[in-house]
């Protein structure tokens, strides 16, 4: 008799352990907190300030999702993950959402069992060198020592690029951006390579940013995308459409300033649907009517988030470029809310 109870309990434990991973939305709601995987320190994208408050482009996406799901952008637990630990962190359930400048690639989407919720930053891999090195093109880097974050797509691109161009290089494998910065500053590597946005953010944190130059060649496509676990489609939808809401909000001129006013006065049916004035889109993804409104209120629309964290007015000074709206010649194109 006792043994039956024991086996029964075992089976139940095993089943709950299996089932727990399946419904992220109710798990997050029960927990009252969103676990968000972020970069351990990349100024402009995700970095804690002097008081330990996280800020940045990726952090604002975490906040928007938390606002949509839990109604409070502050209810986020930021989990810093390195290039090596990020996907394990996500698939093991340590985080619900990975908003950590990670490239959307075929094998990650399929073999690693991730789902990418849409591109939030179109990036490419570049190289940064000291100005006094006199190098003006990546083609002149034959024989150079190059700092590279291990476990990234950039590591693979680097190997491919130098091979394709018949050049040699010495990799210095590093574990995090901070370590890369230290090695590069000490001259332990001639060049530092990662996504251009990351290079710009790293350079902005230097004491002498004017002495470093980002070479003009972009050697890869790096569509950076927030990721969730494969298999929980509803949770994937929530993240995808939260991102879409931020992008669409910029397209339709919804900002954190005028959002209340637009919710009352806007005659545009699309705006009304996004803000939950007319249709109840939220119910279709297990949320309430005003989910998107709260997401936009958290840190503003995509344009506001970009400008506040990495835009031209910040020390990082990234231009919108590919990350402009499709109406402005960029690639941002939110699917219709309908």
């Amino acid at each position: 008799m006792k043994r039956t109870v024991f086996w029964g309990a075992l089976a139940v434990t095993a089943m709950t352990a299996g089932a727990a991973a399946a419904d992220t939305l109710s798990e997050v709601k029960n927990r009252g907190e969103l676990n968000c995987g972020v970069n351990p320190g990349l100024v402009g994208f995700a970095a804690p300030d002097a008081n330990g408050n996280w800020a940045g482009f990726d952090v604002d996406l975490c906040k928007a999702v938390a606002a949509a799901v839990l109604g409070d952008p502050g209810k986020v637990k930021y989990v810093p993950l390195t290039g090596q630990t990020r996907f394990t962190g996500l698939s093991s359930g340590e985080v619900d959402l990975l908003a950590r400048n990670s490239t959307w690639s075929f094998s990650r989407d399929t073999d690693l069992k991730l789902d990418f919720a849409g591109v939030n930053y179109y990036d490419g891999q570049g190289f940064m060198v000291r100005k006094d090195l006199g190098v003006t093109s990546t083609k002149e880097l034959d024989g150079a020592t190059i700092c590279i974050q291990t476990g990234t797509t950039t590591e693979l691109n680097l190997a491919d690029y130098f091979k394709a161009n018949g050049m040699e290089y010495q990799p210095v494998n590093i574990d995090s951006n901070a370590e890369g910065e230290q090695q590069y500053m000490a001259g332990a590597c001639d060049a530092y390579t990662t996504d251009i946005s990351g290079l710009a953010a790293t350079r902005a944190a230097f004491a002498d940013p004017e002495n470093h130059v980002i070479l003009p060649e972009v050697i890869s496509k790096e569509p950076l995308a927030p990721a969730v676990r494969h298999g929980d489609n509803n949770w994937g939808d929530i993240v995808r459409w939260t991102l879409n809401a931020l992008i669409a909000a910029e397209e339709y001129g919804i900002t954190s300033k005028n959002i209340e006013e637009l919710a009352k006065s806007s005659e545009n049916p699309e705006v009304q649907r996004i803000l939950g004035v007319t249709d109840d889109l939220g119910a279709m993804i297990g949320l309430d009517k005003e989910w998107a409104k709260r997401a936009i209120q958290a840190s503003g629309n995509y344009g506001e988030i970009f400008a506040a964290n990495v835009g031209e007015q910040t020390p990082i000074g990234l231009a919108r470029g590919l990350n402009a709206q499709w109406t402005q010649g960029g690639l941002l194109y939110a699917q219709p809310f309908r």
Binding site: F6, L10, T13, A14, M15, A17, G18, A19, A21, A22, G83, Q84, F87, T88, S91, S107, R108, D111, L112, K113, L141, D142, G143, A144, T145, T150, G151, E155, L156, L158, A159, D160, K163, Y169, Q170, P171, V172, N173, I174, D175, Q182, Q183, A186, G187, A188, C189, D190, R229, H230, G231
Partner: protein, 418 residues
Amino acid sequence: MTEVPLGAEQPFRLSMLVYDRRYRSMTFQVIVFILVMALGWWLVNNTIRNLAALGKDFNFGFLFQRAGYDIPQRLIPYSSDDTHLRATIVGLLNTILISFMGCIAATILGVAIGIARLSNNWLFARLMAIYVEVFRNIPLLLWILIIYAIFTDVLPPPNAYRGDDPQWSMIFFDQVALTNRYTAVPAFGMSNDPGTIDLGARITVNLALIAFLVVIIGGWIARRAILARAQAIQDRTGHRPVTWWINLAVMTVPSVLLIWYFGLHLLAPELKGFNFSGGNNLNNALVVLWLALTLYTGAFIAEIVRGGVLAVSKGQTEAAFALGLRPKATMNLVILPQALRVIIPPLISQYLNLTKNSSLAIAVGYMDLRGTLGGTTQNQTGRELESIVLMMLIYLALSLIISAGMNAFNRSVRLKER
């Protein structure tokens, strides 16, 4: 006193499983066995369920896919076009290399310091005590990071060696350059290169290396034969022939002849382009890790050696002195052979520790097994479970091999009871 034959007449009752001594131990063993099996079953079942929930399977096919990344320091040829399996082997060889170098250096350092701590010189002994306490009481990872930071920030980039009036100049007769990337040391060049033989899998060995190995091992065997003969003559006649110059000749002359025949010379590293080339560049990751592992493990070995020497009673020394043995002979013939029996078993543990600690290599980007299979490969393929299981098996096998080897050595030095 009457003895009742237990159980002969009593019928078997369930309570006897607990109260009857004949069954009790069996009962508990069965219960523990069932619990252990249940725990194992639960772990395996839970893993399978969760993998299924994630839509993942368990297979090692990824090992045969293209790796796509480069490895800076390697003992066998490797390029990004090779498979993850080869990358794993490159990492494993790096682990073995650092462990081997570390064990040798830590043993030499540890023995020296352990004996120095017993010195009668007060200051010297205290300095050694400070070394031991400092190194064994601060975590290894911190030592690795501290030494790495020193190498990175104190040593110059290769650029500092450039120009007519460089800030830094090469040391050891312009043969060695210390930089914050690597230590550039000379390579061996041969004017009469005998070529290489192919061992398969793109691994080649230079014939000259084989020739040197043969000559050195041959010299060693010849020396033993000469010593054995000398011993035999001594036993027979009581007079030992002088052998030192024959031994010296057997050990050195063939090597010198080979050096002359192959035209062996040093190739000094030269600064070309961004980096030194022409010589061998020992990556700082390797040097730093080697230093840190040596200094850290050396402190533990020093204590083991000190303990081993102290374990031999003072009477032994006094007896040896009374027989007229000099201090050096006393140490070599009386103390050390007895101390080794105490030293070897904990020394095995230290070697195993060092081997496993070498997996901290990731902190300095040294691509060992943890850096290749457990790092980039695992990350690029998303095969966490397979990679970790394989890594555990490899480390286990490595440790068992070291244990087996050292245990064999231990058997050869332990007290022979006849």
